[in-house]
Symmetry: C2
Subunit: 337 residues, 2 copies
């Protein structure tokens, strides 16, 4: 299907909240044949009023599609995946947008769908929710994790990578599901735990009212994501429970180091630990990257290709191009220098 | 001296970094007679090039002044306070801008200067430092803590409150030194501990590079103040050591509650705890305030006035007006409804 180019792909989006809705809007804007579906009839009506193609049933939405994006809450994914797989041909590529990857990847494997399902996670969002909040540019420049299948069926990964880079202008970060879940525990989930603990400690303090009166920029920044709907945050943490609990131990140990230096009145030790934090923080905005181009045979064993992709993601790099001709796949990437 | 109005006051600023420099700039902009001094000759030259009046010695800077602001690092305050007190008349009001208040207040009391020294803390700042980074509007709308003397010598407090409200357009928050230090431990210092721990944990993680690649908005917000110069943060924490260690226990307990709910896979309990955090966070931006006007006799015992002021600060309120006539002082304030 890649031979017709990604703009010839027929796509469906099942579950059109903030993320799924933004995917749908961008695909339409780019001129692709795209059909939406959402379990909520009000959302379907709202979509049609915006001139979007919406089907009344999931089966109807995904029939004859080349690619299906699964939106919707994490808990809905197993059911939807099974239904979509039954209603589509074996060469239809299915991906999802859930915030954790191990559970859904294991489910796909256990149900014989690993060859068709490429777990995905676009790292974008806002505090808002629903199709009404969706915007087509949501993924511009954002990281979008894709988990290539370990068994060598890599053409689905290539199709999605090309589509997502060309149409959504996102940065593709290839990772295995457990590496993804371990990384997002620290890069996305634990920040919610710490923001919640700071705001919660202030709420329970006897001088709570005065704290609100004197809230500095550090307090406002440090509690911002505590304003996220509580149930949504709880679901996110529960879904990545093992990795969050595990990575929290790194936070505990660092906190213990800071506390020991403070207790000992040891300004040198304290400055040293805070210097480690500062270096990490600075590399967020100023990490030099270098361009890389790699080619692999289009057909045959893909273990070298897979190895390149997974090392790229683990090193903090990303793909910014993927093209395929009769015999060769060419990746362009940026990785830390 | 209040009878001539605050615009007739002669003021000095000793120590003209970011905060002291911004005070100096704003006083000059407002047309007051103000003189600066800094231990660094380069800073004095830089100030003069900007057309500011700078003295070469501290004694010369503060001689004949009605009000002296002490800028400079916390460690310099005791020395500077003694020198300024010796070089000025007994009716000269001295205040400081340090980020903790108990230590300097105890020092002033121990040196017989409690009747002339009103500990202060303007809650404003930027990541930058030095006179070159100073801006006259830095305190517009900011909270500015002042600690009225407990022994009833309250006219100095009134003078400063009027000056700071009228000239700097800041919100005066009256507090005792220990209440201030306890509040800022949570509203300003512990956020640096948590930001440092999040960034530090990421730095020490085996997937550190990948975390930087996938850093979400929550991670960026949660680590922002980890970018502050490490020594400055270490000094700030060490200076409020007891209160920071003490208030960290509230954070520990909340963190333990979140972790227990997560470990037990108890989404209801987790949602409940996060709901406490969310309520506190929402009250940051949407706490209804009501106006209050109170009058007290200008002379005589000030215990009722002191009581009003300290309750106002503890309740999360602030003064937005202070005026004095022959017999009466009038405060206007906003406090949580």
């Amino acid at each position: 299907m890649l031979d017709t180019g990604v703009y010839g792909l027929k796509v469906a989006v099942a579950g059109t909240g903030l993320i799924g809705g933004s995917i749908l809007l961008r695909l339409r804007e780019a001129g692709l044949d795209v059909r939406g579906w959402d379990p909520d009839p009000g959302t379907r009506d709202h979509g049609r009023q915006q001139g979007l193609a919406f089907a009344d049933t999931l089966t109807e939405a995904v029939r004859d599609r080349d690619v299906v994006f699964l939106g919707g809450p994490l808990s809905s994914l197993p059911d939807t995946l099974i239904k979509v797989a039954k209603s589509t041909g074996d060469d239809c590529v299915i991906t999802d947008v859930g915030s954790t990857k191990s559970t859904v990847a294991a489910f796909a494997l256990g149900n014989g769908l690993a060859h068709r399902f490429v777990p995905g996670h676009p790292m974008a969002g806002t505090e808002r929710a629903g199709l009404a909040a969706a915007i087509p540019a949501l993924f511009d420049g954002a990281a979008w994790v894709l988990c290539p299948a370990p068994d060598g069926l890599i053409s689905q990964f290539r199709t999605l990578a090309t589509l997502i880079i060309e149409v959504f202008r996102a940065r593709i970060v290839p990772m295995t599901p457990p590496v993804h879940d371990s990384v997002v525990a620290l890069s996305s989930h634990i920040p919610h735990v710490l923001a919640g603990s700071l705001a919660g400690a202030a709420a329970r303090s006897p001088v709570s009212d005065a704290i609100i009166g004197l809230a500095a920029g550090s307090f406002r920044d440090g509690t911002r994501v505590a304003g996220t709907p509580s149930r949504r945050t709880a679901d996110m943490l529960i879904n990545n429970r093992e990795f969050v609990l595990n990575q929290m131990e790194l936070v505990d140990r660092f906190l213990a180091d800071l506390r020991a230096a403070l207790r000992d009145d040891d300004v040198e030790a304290l400055t040293g630990h805070l210097g480690e934090s500062r270096s990490l923080r600075e590399s967020l905005s100023s990490r030099p990257m270098q361009p890389v181009t790699r080619q692999f045979p289009r057909f045959g064993p893909a273990s070298a290709e897979l190895d390149f992709l997974l090392r790229l993601g683990e090193s903090g790099g990303h793909l910014d191009g993927c093209s395929t001709d009769d015999s060769t796949v060419t990746y362009t990437a940026l990785r830390p220098a």
